[in-house]
């Protein structure tokens, strides 16, 4: 089919001619460019005129003209020349702007919803117990710490209930869940427990347990190896992120920044975050305000020291787990004497059990004071209290960490606690001003001032007097200050059970 520009006999027939001509040209172009491209870039184009050797193509919009000319100029020209040999070029004539076709997102939206459902189904797919164990270990969970092994009590009822809620419906209840307590009261246990319970419910979900220190080390490695993407992927795609000892984030600005973004990302995606710290979020040293506020955003649950009944229940559970032959009465006697964190309680139990197996006779509750003397602290037998015990008792009373008391922070509460501690040490021990000052990292003037101040306050304020008396009474009774044991030992991980090799016992049992 040939078209000759000279044959301009009748106008309607010329239009007709151009139309049929364009039909051929466009079908060639369609074949060359592909259907979708043709539809997208050259829809409703028409050949309207031939001015000498230039073809005029009418296009329905300036956008089409730009893209067609930039991308398909050659194809269009070659095709035109195939049918109109005399054609040397073409130009676009833009008619009315056609509104852009509405973008159809609905299909994608549907797909998304479907994907979410599918994901939930995949996550909850059952797997064998061994696989579960394997996945849990890979996530950094320890098998020992499950909900089944946890002994709840009044001291931890809020934390316990929140843990279960979070494990059942991660990301839907408390975001984040924040535990804080003194050491050895079960924060880590609950974190692992949530991990296991959640994993059992949704075996294919990504659970991740790390300590803040691990997080930090991995972050530093990632920076060094230029592998931040992998690092972020690991953390920002977790379904449940459990972080222990977040107080470690204090004063690490880069790390806080990174964690801030991780936190936001996960919480935007509705993933669960559970954190544990040895002090309330607001007291973590040099933690950015935006992180503090985020930590306090969800639920903050404190775990207190177990009361007698809970302590006894914990020890009975331990006894049964470890198959020890220790009677209930003996356990009651232990918890009466040893109060404090669970590690110390366990240490005491181990020691009693060991004495019993070694001597092969019933341990009389009255002998407990002797067996557990160094765990209970010198206070029981001698009636004298040491510097560390006093510090510990004061720290406990004010619910602050020992290192905070010894540290440099001077918020009102910490300063007050520090003053009372100095006062009591001066009153109750024979230590010199210099000794007391050195133990706080201060000079003796500070101690003099503190003692004076507390004395003055005792005479004017009943509450200060009451506080001082309460701590003093507790110290004299010897019912407190158990953590001092740990502070005195060189290695903080050593529990009472391992320090059995005191010479006294060796002499006694070597014969």
């Amino acid at each position: 089919m040939q078209f000759s520009p000279e044959s301009e006999s009748q106008e309607p027939s010329e239009k007709q001619n151009l139309k049929t001509l364009w039909r051929s040209i466009s079908s060639d172009l369609r074949a060359e460019l592909g259907d979708s491209t043709f539809e997208l870039f050259l829809p409703n184009f028409t050949l309207t005129q031939l001015e000498d050797s230039v073809a005029v193509i009418q296009v329905p919009g300036s956008g089409y003209a730009l893209w067609a000319e930039t991308n398909f100029k050659e194809s269009i020209l070659l095709t035109l020349q195939k049918y109109i040999p005399s054609c040397e070029g073409f130009r676009f004539d833009i008619t009315v702007e056609e509104p852009a076709p509405a973008v159809k997102e609905t299909k994608l939206q549907k797909k998304k919803n479907k994907a979410a459902k599918l994901k939930e189904r995949i996550l909850t797919e059952k797997i064998s117990d061994e696989k579960l164990l394997e996945r849990g270990r890979a996530a950094g969970l320890v098998e020992l710490f499950t909900f089944e092994n946890f002994v709840p009590g009044q001291n931890s009822d809020l934390a316990w209930a929140a843990s279960q809620a979070v494990a059942n419906e991660p990301g839907k209840t408390y975001q984040p869940l924040f535990f804080h307590s003194a050491c050895g009261l079960g924060k880590t246990h609950l974190l692992h427990g949530i991990g296991w319970a959640s994993l059992r419910k949704r075996p294919r979900s990504r659970v991740l347990f790390v300590t803040a220190e691990q997080f930090s080390n991995e972050y530093i490695d990632a920076i060094q190896n230029n592998a931040l993407v992998a690092f972020r992927k690991k953390y920002r795609e977790a379904d449940l992120l459990l972080i222990d000892d977040v107080q470690f984030f204090g004063r690490k600005e880069g790390l806080q920044q990174e964690f801030f973004h991780t936190f936001n990302r996960l919480s935007d995606l509705g993933r669960q975050i559970v954190l544990a710290s040895d002090c309330p979020a607001g007291e973590i040293r040099a933690l950015e305000d935006r992180l503090v506020s985020r930590f306090q955003w969800g639920l903050s649950a404190e775990i207190h020291r177990p009361e007698l009944e809970t302590s006894a229940a914990i020890l009975r559970r331990k006894r049964d787990d470890w198959n020890m032959l220790v009677s209930d009465e003996l356990i009651n006697a232990i918890v009466e004497r040893v109060q404090g964190n669970v590690r110390i309680l366990e240490g005491a139990l181990i020691r009693v059990a060991m004495v019993k197996t070694m001597t092969d006779e019933e341990v009389d509750p009255s002998r407990l004071d002797e067996i557990l003397s160094d765990i209970i602290g010198g206070s029981v037998s001698s009636g004298l209290v040491g510097l560390e015990e006093i510090k510990q008792a004061v720290a406990e009373h004010f619910d602050i960490e020992l290192n905070v008391l010894n540290g440099k922070r001077r918020t009102k509460r910490v300063a007050e606690a520090r003053h009372i501690a100095m006062f009591l040490i001066r009153e109750m021990t024979d230590l010199s001003l210099m000794d007391v000052a050195a133990s706080f990292g201060k000079d003796h003037g500070t101690v003099i001032h503190a003692v004076k101040k507390v004395k003055a306050e005792c005479s004017t304020s009943n509450s200060t007097k009451g506080t001082v008396e309460l701590i003093r009474r507790r110290l004299v009774r010897g019912g407190s200050s158990l953590e001092s044991q740990r502070a005195r030992q060189s290695s903080p991980r050593k529990s009472g059970g391992e320090s059995l090799d005191s010479t006294r016992y060796r002499e006694k049992y070597s014969g």
Binding site: G61, G63, T70, L108
Partner: protein
């Protein structure tokens, strides 16, 4: 005119205004910076007749006056001065003396009244927007501005205000970048303007990460007021092509890729991109993306990366530079590529209102 000023303040201000000054100019006064000292401090201005930047800084002025001095030269002198306080004095012949510790300079300037006055513009539509938002939006679009001067309407960023949104678009006909930001503005202020490349670059330099800026728009001029600075630019006159016509609708296949990994892989493979076609191939397959380049005279390269994709195998060729440009200027960890088929444009998206359309290269198999 006499004043004393801190070196850092002066240096920063000169750095911000001096880029406007053109190196080759028929009017010598356009290479100069206009300096006016009044009771409150200094006002610095530079212009190339299209873009004008004005900046106010504080200085201890002991006698007021105005002058113009060679901008680039003044900036390089101030940069090298040894002390933090600089003494400035300009006499009636526009000769400036600069004293800083042991250093002494004398610089010859031109009379201030020869400096072109930038007309205040009257009826303008005004908008207020976060600096960070605008900076981010410009960064995500400006790389796609066309450098082809025959299509002058494309030598800028198209800025549309309407439907409760600010839309920025840049395209050169082979690719298109678009960002949408929510923007509150009074009814009746809907408008569309094209901001020229030079103004876009200067604006990006001025914009900070916090605070707001005020935009004033007329039919021929735009003004941006922020942080004691003021940028006025002529707008490109003409109609920007209707870009929405060529944005593909719903895609058939979506690929999720880690941005950094993708960028680095493309960067490596592109070293051996075909010099004639300047294209490299992207083969999307079941959760894999193989990127390859083949230059008949030089050699070939291939790299494959993990992606999330469960559609059929699609092989498509793109200009590597066009793929890398948005990747460099986004900061998300993950990006999505929406594909229809091998010959249709690909669309890069993120989980924010941004899209980037890129035409595939047609490769002979």
């Amino acid at each position: 005119m006499k004043f004393q000023i801190e070196k850092d303040v002066f240096q920063d201000a000169l750095n911000q205004v001096q880029h406007v000054v053109s190196t080759r100019t028929t009017l010598p006064i356009l290479s100069n910076v206009f300096i006016e000292a009044d009771e409150l401090g200094l006002q610095l201005s530079t212009t190339d007749l299209d873009v004008t930047i004005t900046k106010r800084i504080s200085a201890k002025v002991s006698s007021i006056g105005k002058t113009t001095l060679p901008a680039r030269r003044l900036a390089s002198i101030v940069r090298e001065l040894p002390t933090s306080e600089i003494d400035f004095e300009v006499n009636e012949d526009n000769a400036a003396t600069v004293k800083s510790g042991p250093s002494f300079f004398k610089i010859l300037g031109l009379p201030a009244d020869e400096f072109p006055v930038i007309g205040e513009f009257g009826e303008a539509k005004e908008f207020t927007i976060d600096q960070r938002l605008l900076k981010d939006a410009l960064r995500k679009t400006s790389y796609a501005i066309s450098t082809d001067e025959t299509r002058y309407v494309l030598n800028g960023v198209n800025c549309l205000i309407g439907e409760g949104m600010l839309t920025l678009v840049a395209t050169d006909g082979r690719r298109l970048a678009m960002v949408e930001q929510d923007l509150e503005f009074p009814a009746g202020n809907e408008t569309a303007v094209i901001i020229p490349t030079k103004a876009v670059n200067e604006l990006q330099r001025l914009l900070g990460d916090s605070g707001e800026l005020k935009i004033s728009l007329t039919n021929s001029q735009a003004g941006f007021a922020l942080n004691e600075s003021n940028l006025i630019t002529k707008l490109i006159e003409g109609n920007y092509p209707n870009f929405r016509q060529v944005i593909p609708g719903a895609a058939n296949h979506r690929v999720t890729i880690e941005r950094e990994v993708f960028l680095n892989a493309v960067k490596r493979v592109s070293l051996l991109a075909n010099e004639k076609t300047n294209s490299i191939k992207f083969a999307f397959d079941d959760n894999r993306l193989a990127i390859s380049a083949n230059s008949p005279d030089i050699g070939e390269a291939e790299e494959s990366i993990d992606v999330r994709y469960d559609g059929p195998r699609i092989v498509v060729a793109f200009n590597p530079e066009f793929v890398m440009a948005p990747l460099r200027n986004l900061d998300q960890d993950e990006i999505f590529i929406d594909l229809i088929d091998e010959s249709s444009p690909g669309v890069i998206k993120i989980d924010e209102p941004f899209l980037y359309v890129i035409m595939p290269m047609r490769v002979a198999n």
